[in-house]
C-alpha cells in the first residue's frame, strides 16, 4: 500500500518534533494517518479478535453439547460467555464496520482522507489498547464474568469481588473513547469533504448508513460512559449507585446500559445494511430500488432506536404501563427495517443476477436477517416475551441478526471490496465453500435454539440437566458451531491462497465487478492519494452513469469503457497528511491509567504523563509540510496542523506549480 516516494524533510526539524517519514515497514504502519491503512489495521485487528471470540464460542458449545457438561466449570463458563459477547460486539463487529467505513467513506465521497487524519489514527490505536486491555483480564486469570450486559448489583464489589469487572468497565471506557472520536471525525468528513456536486442525496447508501451510525455512536457512547463510571465508582470508591442495601435501585444500571445498548444494535447492523445496498444492485445489474426510502428508513431506524430500550427489561419489574409503551414502540421499529428488506428484494427482482460470492453473502443477509427480525417482532409482544426472555429463543434471535445480518454483510464486503483494497480478487471457489459452510453451520447452530428456548432452556447458565429433552438440539448446535469454524478457516485459507496467487497472476485491473459507486473511479489497489483529480458528481451512481447510457429505445447501453471512465492514479502532486507518532503514544497511555486505577496509582502517573506528552507533541509538531509525503494526485485542500507554528503553508489556493513534485 505504501507509495515509495522520496521524502525530503524540511530544514526546520526540532528533534522529537520531526514528523516521521517512514513509508514502508512497521514504522509506516505505526505512524500512518492514511485512512486506507487505518482501515486495514482495524480489519486485521478485528479478525484477530474474531478468532479469540470464536474460540470462546466453541468452548461454550463444547460445554453445552451434553447435559451436565464438564468441559468448563461454572465460573469459567461465566467468564467465557461474557468475553465471547464483549469481544464479538465491541472488538469484532464494531471495528470491522470501522474498517469498511475508514477505507471506503472518503473514497465514496471523493475525498483524499478524513477531516482529522491524526484523530483517525488515534481512534484505531485507542481501540487496540482497549481490546488488549480487556483481554489482559484472561492473562491475569480474572476475566469479567458478569455477562456482556454486566447487570448490577451482581457486578458490584460484593458479588464480583475480583478485578474482572474493573477490566470490563475500564476496557469499554477506552474503546468508547475510540468510537466517540471516530464518530466526530466521520461526521465532519461527510458534511464537509464531499466531491463537487455530491449533495447528501447523491451519496451512496453505504456512506449514508455509516453517517447514521456515527450519530448513533455520538449520542449513545456517552450514556454507557456514565453507566461504566457509576459502576467503577461503586466498585472502587464506595459509591452507592447500585447497592440496594443503601437504597439504590439496580434498575438504574439496566436503563443506562440499554439506552446505550439498543442504539448499539443498530450501530452493529446498519453498516452491513449499507454494504449489501452496494453489493445487491451491482450483482443484480439494477439500481437500488427506492434509494430515498433506503436513506430515510436508515434515518428512521436511527431515530426510533432511541425509544425502545426497555424491551430488554420487560420482566424486570418496570410495571405494566412502561411495558406496554415499549412494546408498542418496539413493534413500530420493525417497519423501516421491513422497508429495507422489501427494497433489496425489489432490487433483485427482474435483475440479471450474478451469484458471485459477495452476492451469496448479501442474499444470506437478507434471508437470515428476515428470520432474526421476525423473531424480534415476536419479542415485541410483551406477554410472549415473558416466556421467551432469558431463554435460548433470545439467543437465537440476536445471533440471527448479528451473525446472519451484520457478520454475513461484512463478509459480503470483504469479497466485494477485496480487489479495491489489495489489488486482487478472493478466489470464487473457496469463497463459495466459505459461504455455504458458514450459512449451513450457522443455521444448524442457531436455528434449533428457537426450539430449545421455547421448550424452556435457560440462557446465561453453564449447564442444563438431562431429562428435559434438550440433548439432541444442543448436540446438533454444537456440531454446527464447528462447521462455522470450518467455514471461517476456509476464509483464512482463501485470503492466503489468493494473495499468493496474485503475486504471479495478472493484476485485477479496473472495475472488476462493473460497479456503481465512486470508489471504483480509482485504480485497484487504491493509490495512496486516492484520486488524481476531483470527480464532478452529477447523480447518484455517478460511476455507473459514466459507463452506461440509454439508446433511443430506452435500453441500457455501454457508452464508455472502464479505462475511459476511471482515473489511472498517475498524478504526482498531492499533499498527503503527514504521519505522526503521537496517536500511538497517546493511546498507549490509556491502559496504564486503567492499570493504575486497579493496581497502583503510579501507573496512573505514567499513563497520564504519556497522554499529556502526546497531546503536547501533537499540538506542537510541525505542520503538514509541503515537502512531506507526496502521493500522486490532486493537490488538495489539506488541513493545516499545528496552531502555534508559523502560518499555514498550504492555502487552498496553492497551485501545483508552486510545489516541486518530490521525486
Amino acid at each position: 500500500m505504501s507509495d515509495v516516494t522520496e521524502l525530503e524533510t524540511p530544514g526546520g526539524s526540532i528533534g522529537v518534533y520531526t514528523r516521521p517519514k517512514a513509508n514502508t515497514g512497521w514504522r509506516d504502519w505505526i505512524t500512518t494517518v492514511d485512512h486506507k491503512k487505518i482501515g486495514i489495521l482495524y480489519g486485521a485487528t478485528a479478525m484477530f479478535f474474531f478468532a479469540i471470540g470464536g474460540l470462546e464460542a466453541l468452548l461454550i458449545r463444547l460445554q453445552l453439547a451434553t447435559p451436565d457438561g464438564t468441559v468448563l466449570g461454572a465460573d469459567t463458563y461465566n467468564r467465557v460467555f461474557t468475553m465471547h459477547g464483549v469481544t464479538m460486539v465491541f472488538l469484532v463487529i464494531m471495528p470491522l464496520a470501522a474498517a469498511f467505513a475508514n477505507y471506503l467513506l472518503p473514497l465514496q465521497i471523493g475525498a483524499r482522507d478524513v477531516a482529522f487524519p491524526r484523530m483517525n489514527a488515534l481512534s484505531f490505536w485507542i481501540f487496540l489498547a482497549g481490546g488488549l486491555f480487556l483481554n489482559m483480564a484472561w492473562i491475569v486469570g480474572d476475566a469479567p464474568d458478569g455477562g456482556w450486559f454486566a447487570y448490577a448489583p451482581n457486578t458490584g464489589m460484593i458479588f464480583s469481588p475480583g478485578k474482572g469487572m474493573d477490566y470490563y468497565a475500564i476496557g469499554l471506557q477506552i474503546t468508547g473513547i475510540a468510537s466517540l472520536i471516530s464518530a466526530m471525525n466521520l461526521i465532519v468528513t461527510v458534511l464537509n469533504m464531499r466531491a463537487p456536486g455530491m449533495t447528501l442525496f447523491k451519496m451512496p447508501v453505504f456512506t449514508w448508513m455509516i453517517l447514521v451510525v456515527q450519530f448513533l455512536l455520538l449520542f449513545a457512547v456517552p450514556v454507557i460512559t456514565v453507566a461504566l463510571f457509576l459502576l467503577l465508582f461503586d466498585r472502587n470508591f464506595g459509591a452507592n449507585f447500585f447497592n440496594p442495601e443503601m437504597g439504590a435501585d439496580p434498575l438504574l444500571w439496566q436503563h443506562l446500559f440499554w439506552i446505550f445498548g439498543h442504539p448499539e444494535v443498530y450501530i452493529l447492523i446498519l453498516p452491513s445494511f449499507g454494504i449489501i445496498s452496494e453489493v445487491i444492485p451491482t450483482f443484480s445489474r439494477k439500481p437500488l430500488f427506492g434509494y430515498p426510502f433506503m436513506v430515510f428508513s436508515g434515518i428512521a431506524i436511527g431515530f426510533m432506536g432511541w425509544g425502545v430500550w426497555a424491551h430488554h427489561m420487560f420482566v424486570s419489574g418496570i410495571g405494566p404501563i412502561s411495558v406496554a409503551a415499549f412494546s408498542v414502540s418496539t413493534m413500530f421499529i420493525a417497519v423501516p427495517t421491513g422497508v429495507k428488506i422489501l427494497n433489496w428484494l425489489a432490487t433483485m427482482w427482474g435483475g440479471r443476477i450474478r451469484f458471485n460470492t459477495p452476492m451469496l453473502f448479501a442474499s444470506g443477509v437478507v434471508s437470515m436477517f428476515t428470520i432474526g427480525g421476525l423473531s424480534g417482532v415476536t419479542h415485541s409482544v410483551a406477554p410472549a416475551d415473558t416466556q421467551q426472555t432469558d431463554t435460548y429463543y433470545i439467543v437465537a434471535h440476536f445471533h440471527y441478526v448479528i451473525f446472519g445480518g451484520a457478520l454475513l454483510g461484512i463478509f459480503a464486503g470483504f469479497y466485494f471490496w477485496w480487489p479495491k483494497v489489495f489489488g486482487h480478487l478472493l478466489d470464487e471457489k473457496w469463497g463459495k465453500w466459505n459461504f455455504w459452510l458458514m450459512i449451513v453451520g450457522f443455521n444448524m447452530t442457531f436455528g434449533p435454539m428457537h426450539i430449545l428456548g421455547l421448550q424452556g432452556m435457560s440462557r446465561r447458565i453453564d449447564s442444563y440437566s438431562p431429562g428435559f429433552g434438550f440433548e439432541f438440539w444442543n448436540m446438533f448446535a454444537s456440531i454446527g458451531a464447528f462447521i462455522i469454524a470450518l467455514g471461517v478457516a476456509v476464509f483464512m485459507v482463501n485470503v492466503v491462497i489468493s494473495a499468493r496467487r496474485a503475486r504471479t497472476a495478472p493484476p485485477v485491473g479496473l472495475d472488476p465487478w462493473d460497479a456503481r459507486s465512486p470508489e471504483w473511479f480509482s485504480p485497484n489497489p487504491t493509490p495512496v492519494h486516492n484520486f488524481d483529480e476531483d470527480i464532478q458528481i452529477n447523480s447518484l451512481d455517478e460511476f455507473w452513469h459514466r459507463k452506461y447510457g440509454e439508446d433511443e429505445d430506452g435500453r441500457v447501453v455501454r457508452v464508455a469503457t472502464a479505462e475511459e471512465v476511471c482515473q489511472d492514479g498517475s498524478a504526482t502532486d498531492t499533499h498527503l497528511p503527514s504521519p505522526s507518532y503521537w496517536p500511538v503514544v497517546l493511546a498507549a497511555g490509556l491502559p496504564f491509567i486503567g492499570f493504575g486505577l486497579m493496581y497502583t496509582l503510579w501507573f496512573c502517573v505514567l499513563g497520564g504523563a504519556l497522554v499529556l506528552m502526546a497531546i503536547y507533541g501533537w499540538i506542537f509538531e510541525p505542520v503538514d509540510d509541503p515537502d512531506g509525503p507526496h502521493g500522486h494526485g490532486h493537490h488538495g485542500n489539506e488541513p493545516t496542523e499545528g496552531p502555534l507554528s508559523e502560518g499555514s503553508a498550504d492555502d487552498a489556493s496553492v497551485e501545483s506549480a508552486e510545489e516541486a513534485p518530490v521525486g
Binding site: R118, N192, P643, S648
Partner: protein, 201 residues
Amino acid sequence: MADTAAVSHGHGTGTGLSDNKLLMWVFLGSECLLFGGLISTYLIYRSRFGDGPAPGDIFDIPFTSVSSFVLLMSSLTMVLALSALQRGDIRNNRIWLLTTALLGSLFIGGQVYEFTTFVREGLGYSTSPFSSAFFTLTGFHGVHVSLGILMLMSLLISSLRGTLTKERSETVEIIGLYWHFVDVVWIFIFTVIYLVPSPTS
C-alpha cells in the same frame, strides 16, 4: 486543539463551515447525553439519603448562588476575550483570558470549599445514593471546568509567546464554546439541583 486553522475544502461540496468548529459543536451535542445521564441519576437518587443529610438540609443556597454568579460572569469575560482578539487587541485578549481563568478557579475553589464543608457535616461520598450522585455530578462538572481552565492557561501562554494572533481567533472561539457549554450545564444544575426545593429529612 491541534488543527485550528479554518479549513476550506476548496470547490468540493460541504457546509462551508470550519471543520474545527463543527467538531466542537458535534462534541457538545454528545456531552448533553453525558451530563443528562448524571443529572438523571441525581434526580432519581436525591430523595434517597438514608440516615445521612438530606439535600434540603445541607445545601447552602446563598453560597452556591455566589459561585454560580462567578461562573456566569466568566462567560462574559470569555466572550470579551474573543471579541478583543477578533479586533486584534492582543493585550485585552490576554487580560480577559486571564480573568476568565481566575473566575473559573474561583468557582472551583468554591466547589472545593462546599464539598469539604459537606463532608464535615456528615455527607461523604459513600454516605448514601444521594451523596454519591451529588458528588459525582458536580465532580464531573468541576473536572470539565478544570480542563477548561487548563486550556485557557495554554491559550494565555501561547499569547504571551506571540503565537495567538488575530488570524487564530477561531481557536479562542472554539475553546470559548466549550467554556460556555460548561457554564450552561451549571445554569441547569444550579436551578434543578439547588433551587428547586429538595427533600429534607
